[in-house]
């Protein structure tokens, strides 16, 4: 690769970030410009990605000290997650356009730094480079919550920090061990390396500690509702849209290919946590009075569908999990934007303060309905394709896990429609909510592209599945040897000789009816 596009995709927002630090109020325009340029670069990246070509494309490698190198490169999975990040970024800048009043320059810089680090995380091909991006990506998030967050922002950012720190330390230790064992920190090489069985267990657990918190899996999820509630709108969008995907990405990039046997051994552990998450967090979402908390809890339930899909050990499960991640990134991001739209007008997230918004904000109600439906997996939206494949995948491994996880479609409908009813249906019981104006041009520009992609992914997901197909097939081939036994297996038998309702008829037919 002659043109170092991945590095440039990181340099553009980096330059933008530095400029924002000194630009004051012009920083909004700079940030928007930088994110748009990065998005265009992302489209070029996708357009030039050769489906069915080499597994790792756009590779760049510069040796640094002692085997540690600046190595970038992407496969289809990373490509899709990078696309998700660069697509959401300009929307986040727009969402912060009017609502961020203090330290705008620093705020925009934090977002742009985060974009650099997210692209870096997905593109890194060196274990330590990945670690640096992975962990450092959280620093701008701490700042966004801690500086521009709500009233209880210190507690939230601190909780966020504490959770992620503990997991990260264990993962770092595991990484050192792996590098000394395998003699390289090159991720593609490590993905092919056979770690001894006993060591896999410990390595798997160490990585799990970090990824489970990021996903987040029950019971490591309690930082998420607080972080979401306190974060500004755009912070929530990136948190739900991209940062939660780091955990899933970690599983699919490290845990599954590097420790397949341990992954199989721990599959039921993951299933049990995921099943609890689906039911537990859905029920908790049902009783929330705060919109953001409700959507945050729903994220935990949705991410549980990702983890069951990942550990289903088959192609449908893996592809489904990836599509759920992409879809959830778009849909929950959009739902947080929807909350932001009315929060900007009324400055409260309390559901009871709204009501009857279909009357004074019909187009807002339409978008909100659309994303609600996408969130509960209505076919034709991205949510369905992901959930369906993921659950179809897990059914082949365990009908029990499939049954419990699929109850999420009932509970999800219950809490989302209950939310929608209280916000958009009913009478206008609060005068100030009734006086709110429908969405502005800026808000239209934020919502329409997401809605379009959600539909695209729902109706023609091939565009998104095709780049990942070869990578997932390779992973599946690697995993198939370790796959746990299925409890839904078919056993052949002698077919019945005739149809169930076959009857003898000998009598004479009566007169024609």
């Amino acid at each position: 690769m002659d043109f170092p596009i991945l590095t440039i995709m990181m340099l553009v927002p980096l330059a933008g970030a530095l400029a924002c630090l000194f630009a004051g109020s012009a920083s909004r325009v700079i940030a928007l410009g930088a994110t748009l340029v990065t998005f265009v670069l992302g489209i070029m990246l996708w357009a030039n990605y050769e489906i069915g070509g080499a597994q790792w494309q756009f590779q760049e490698k510069y040796e640094l000290v002692a085997g540690f190198s600046y190595a970038l490169g992407i496969d289809g999975i990373a490509l899709m997650l990078i696309m998700l990040s660069v697509f959401l970024m300009p929307i986040c800048i727009l969402a912060s356009w009017d609502s961020i009043k203090k330290r705008t320059g620093e705020y925009m810089a934090a977002f742009l730094f985060m974009e650099v680090l997210m692209i870096g995380t997905f593109a890194a091909q060196d274990l330590f480079l990945f670690y640096i991006f992975f962990e450092a990506g959280l620093i701008p998030m701490y700042l966004i919550i801690g500086v521009w967050g709500g009233d209880n922002r210190i507690y939230a950012s601190y909780k966020f920090f504490l959770y992620t720190l503990i997991g990260s330390v264990l993962m770092l230790i595991a990484m050192f061990w792996m590098v000394s064992e395998a003699g390289t920190s090159d991720i593609p090489t490590l993905m092919q390396y056979n770690f001894p069985g006993g060591a896999q267990t410990w390595l798997w657990l160490a990585f799990f500690a970090s990824f489970a918190v990021k996903v987040p899996m029950w019971p490591f999820h309690t930082w998420l509702p607080d972080a979401h509630v306190q974060a500004p709108t755009a912070g929530s969008v990136i948190l739900a849209g991209v940062l939660l995907k780091l955990g899933g990405y970690g599983f699919i990039r490290f845990s599954l290919p590097m420790f397949p046997d341990a992954s199989a051994d721990f599959a039921w552990f993951v299933f049990i946590l995921s099943m609890i998450a689906v039911i537990y967090t859905s029920l908790v979402a049902l009783v929330q009075a705060d919109m953001k908390k409700l959507i945050a809890y729903s994220s935990v339930a949705h991410m549980a569908i990702v983890t069951v899909g990942l550990f289903a050990f088959n192609v449908q499960g893996l592809e489904g999990a990836m599509i759920v991640m992409l879809s959830h990134g778009l849909v929950s991001g959009a739902l947080f934007l929807c909350v932001g739209v009315i929060y900007d007008r009324l400055h409260t997230r309390e559901i009871e303060r709204y009501g009857g918004l279909s009357i004074n904000m019909p187009y807002y109600a339409l978008f909100f309905l659309f994303f609600t439906m996408a969130s509960i997996g209505l076919p034709g939206t991205s949510g369905f394709v992901g959930e369906f494949l993921s659950l179809a995948g897990i059914y082949q491994t365990s009908s029990l896990v499939a049954l419990v996880s699929t109850t999420g479609i009932i509970l999800g409908a219950a809490y989302m429609l209950y939310l929608y009813r209280r916000v958009a249906f009913g009478d206008q019981k609060n005068a100030d909510a009734a006086a709110m104006k429908d969405i502005t041009a800026r808000e239209w520009i934020m919502m329409t592209p997401i809605a379009a992609v959600v539909l695209w992914m729902g109706v023609y997901p091939e565009s998104f599945l095709a780049p990942m197909r070869a990578d997932i097939a390779a992973l599946d081939a690697l995993l198939s040897a370790a796959a746990p036994a299925s409890d839904a297996a078919l056993t052949g038998g002698e077919p019945l000789s005739e149809a169930a309702n076959a009857i003898e008829f000998e009598g004479h037919e009566g007169e024609a009816h």
């Binding site: 082949q396 219950a414 249906f425 997901p461 008829f505």
Partner: protein
């Protein structure tokens, strides 16, 4: 036929998008014209296809549209499949939908949100068409959920009313319980057949009938468990016993919606599904027995409730539920053609009854309680005649030896005869349940007619009427009409009534030979049980006349109770209060579900949140660690500034130090 099919399916979608997004900017008349025009176009194109199948000149066809999902061995595409079974559904859906669109011009005249209403109606029609043209189970599920969405939106159309919002959620969530079964059924089917293509599954079904499959740790007969799971989906959509609770509440939607969605089309999707998959069900004897029992139980259970309700729409809603039960047990005993025939005739007379009820409600200023009707036959004569014909059709008036009867006579009697002819214990139970339900059907249908159209006007007791005439019952005195003058509905509402009346009278007579007796009409699109049809015609005369007898008995019963001796119902209620309450309260299903599902879900949610998340995880997790750290940190206070940047910086420095240490 290809282009025709594409237009039939996509015209309603395009019309819906234009009307929905254009909304107020487009104006009422344009939005209504586009959607109604689109539907009449679809209907006009559907009939030639249906007739082509009747005459045998059409054959099954699949129009590919777009690739959908390809994941490993699993792949399914967007495609439109039209065979005889689909053709039947096409004419039912498009005809009723076009008429309901037209009717709504009159019924929704004064509504401020007409474009939205028409857009939803057309959107519904599109989803329903996608459902019936599905070539694979997943597209069927797309249509299935699409109609669910449209139903949700239309039930909640008057969203300011809290009851409408609640009913809309209930409909969606209860249906989702069924969808859970449907989805698991699709997953299991894929696991067994490695495909979701309906023709391929049906072709391979018989060969799988002896195999077993693991399910929740049990070993079960493959086909029975798959069909049972899929049938749970059908139970939800078609409001069968246990998952029926949403249907009566769905009457919160405007009446044209009840006619289209909750009578003629969407609720019959479950029956359609079982018929579409009939070769699969024929490989699943246990599942079929469950279908028969559930159908028979529903047809009896819903009919009992229908006899006690006062709301005119709720009576018809329970009637729908009950008639769907007939269709299911017909399918369960293997008479799929007969089930589809009843679906077909029922669409006409039930849509007629709902639209007729809408016309009554329109005339009575939105009053739906039959206690405040009475004597309306002279005030709204056309509506009266239409309702009368609908009642004769649903109660199944017809005489075997004359070879003549209303629509319901041909289809319902055929179901009862088939159940008798089938000759198993289950089918015999279903036969008797069906006969009893026919008695109750006749009773509640005539009760509705007598309360509404006969007797003295009781209008002034209605609050709606009181508001209109500005009088209390005391002020009105002797004149129980309160001086209110009900008006016959406008022409846009009467045309659909006339067209559907024709259907209710003739649909049975004209189409019975094809639907019931002609295997070549179905051309393999359903499992056609030749011997059962022969046996059906050979049942004894008392069976053939049983439906007519109970119909007359029901009529006489209703006549005595509501015309000859109107004090009888009150006496019955006072002496059998417990029984009346049990039935009037709808067998306490709502109370039961509220107590075992709804309330516990909220209670558990609160416990998990307060005791789980806050009380346990946070307390011993982050907050606990924080407390420990705080106590032990006095010494280290100097470096612990409390600022996150410092923590982060230390972490990064530590990382770099560690990397350097290991690697150098």
């Amino acid at each position: 036929m290809d282009t025709q099919i594409l237009i039939i399916v996509f015209a309603p979608l395009i019309a819906s998008i234009i009307a929905g997004l254009g909304n107020k900017a487009l104006g009422n008349t344009i939005a209504k014209s586009i959607t109604t025009g689109g539907l009449f176009l679809s209907a006009a194109l559907s009939w030639p296809i249906f007739i082509g199948f009747l005459t045998g000149s059409n054959t099954a066809e699949v129009v590919p549209v777009l690739q959908w999902v390809q994941s490993g061995d699993m792949s399914f595409d967007w495609a439109l499949r039209v065979d005889a079974l689909t053709a039947v559904m096409l004419v039912v859906i498009n005809s009723v939908s076009a008429l309901v669109h037209l009717y709504s011009w009159g019924y929704m005249e004064e509504d401020p949100d007409q474009p939205r209403f028409f857009a939803y109606l057309s959107l519904f029609t599109f989803a329903m068409l996608m459902l019936v043209t599905a070539d694979n189970l997943v597209q069927m599920f797309f249509g299935w959920e699409g109609v669910g969405l449209a139903s949700y939106l239309l039930i909640g159309f008057w969203f300011r009313k809290p009851s409408a919002g609640a009913a809309a959620i209930k409909a969606f969530v209860v249906n989702r319980v069924g969808d859970l079964g449907f989805m698991l059924g699709i997953f299991g089917t894929f696991l067994v057949f490695q495909t979701t293509s309906i023709p391929e599954i049906l072709a391979a079904s018989a060969g799988m009938s002896g195999s077993t499959i693991g399910f929740l740790g049990m070993r079960l007969p493959t086909m029975d468990i798959l069909c049972f799971l899929l049938f749970i989906g059908a139970m939800g959509k078609s409001a069968q016993l246990g998952l029926h609770t949403w249907l009566p509440d769905a009457m919160e939607g405007p009446t044209p919606v009840s006619a289209l969605i909750h009578a003629a089309t969407m609720v019959t999707a479950g029956v359609f599904m079982v018929c579409r998959l009939s070769p699969m069900f024929e490989a699943a004897p246990i599942a079929l027995m469950i279908v028969t029992i559930v159908g028979a139980a529903t047809c009896f259970f819903a009919a009992t409730i229908g006899t006690t309700q006062w709301d005119i729409k709720r009576v018809i809603a329970y009637s729908t539920c009950s008639q769907l039960g007939y269709m299911f047990f017909a399918a369960g005993i293997g008479a799929y053609g007969v089930a589809m025939f009843h679906l077909f005739t029922h669409a006409f007379f039930k849509a007629l009854l709902f639209l007729g009820a809408g016309s009554v409600i329109h005339a009575m200023h939105h009053e739906q309680d039959m206690r405040y009707y009475g004597g309306l036959r002279k005030a709204i004569p056309i509506t009266f005649v239409a309702m009368l014909l609908g009642t004769l059709a649903i109660t199944g008036l017809g005489v075997y030896h004359l070879g003549a009867g209303f629509a319901g006579f041909w289809s319902k009697d055929a179901i009862l005869e088939a159940a008798f002819a089938r000759g198993t214990t289950t089918s015999t139970v279903a036969f008797w349940a069906g006969v009893t339900a026919a008695l109750l059907t006749s009773f509640y249908s005539w009760r509705l007619m007598f309360l509404t159209f006969w007797g003295k006007p009781r209008w002034i007791e209605s609050e709606h009427i009181q508001h209109t005439v500005h009088k209390t019952p005391e002020e009105a005195g002797e004149d129980t009409t309160g001086g209110y003058h009900p008006h016959e509905s406008p022409i846009a509402m009467l045309i659909p009534l006339v067209v559907l009346s024709t259907g209710a009278v003739l649909a049975g007579q004209v189409f019975a030979p094809s639907f019931i007796d002609d295997a070549s009409f179905w051309a393999g699109s359903i499992f056609y049980n030749e011997n059962l049809i022969h046996a059906l015609h050979a049942v004894p005369y008392w069976v053939k006349y049983s439906a007519l007898v109970v119909m007359v008995l029901g009529f006489i019963g209703a006549y005595i109770a509501y015309i000859a001796k109107p004090d009888i119902p009150a006496k019955f209620v006072s002496s059998f209060g417990w029984l009346h309450n049990f039935v009037f309260r709808k067998w306490y299903f709502d109370e039961l579900y509220d107590a075992i599902f709804v309330k516990p879900a909220f209670w558990l949610g609160r416990q998990f949140w307060r005791l789980g998340d806050i009380g346990t995880i946070d307390r011993f997790g982050p907050n606990g660690i924080a407390a420990v750290v705080q106590r032990g940190s006095v010494a280290a206070k100097t470096i612990q500034s409390g600022y996150l940047y410092t923590y982060a910086l230390i972490m990064l420095l530590g990382l770099i130090a560690a990397v350097t240490y290991v690697l150098l």
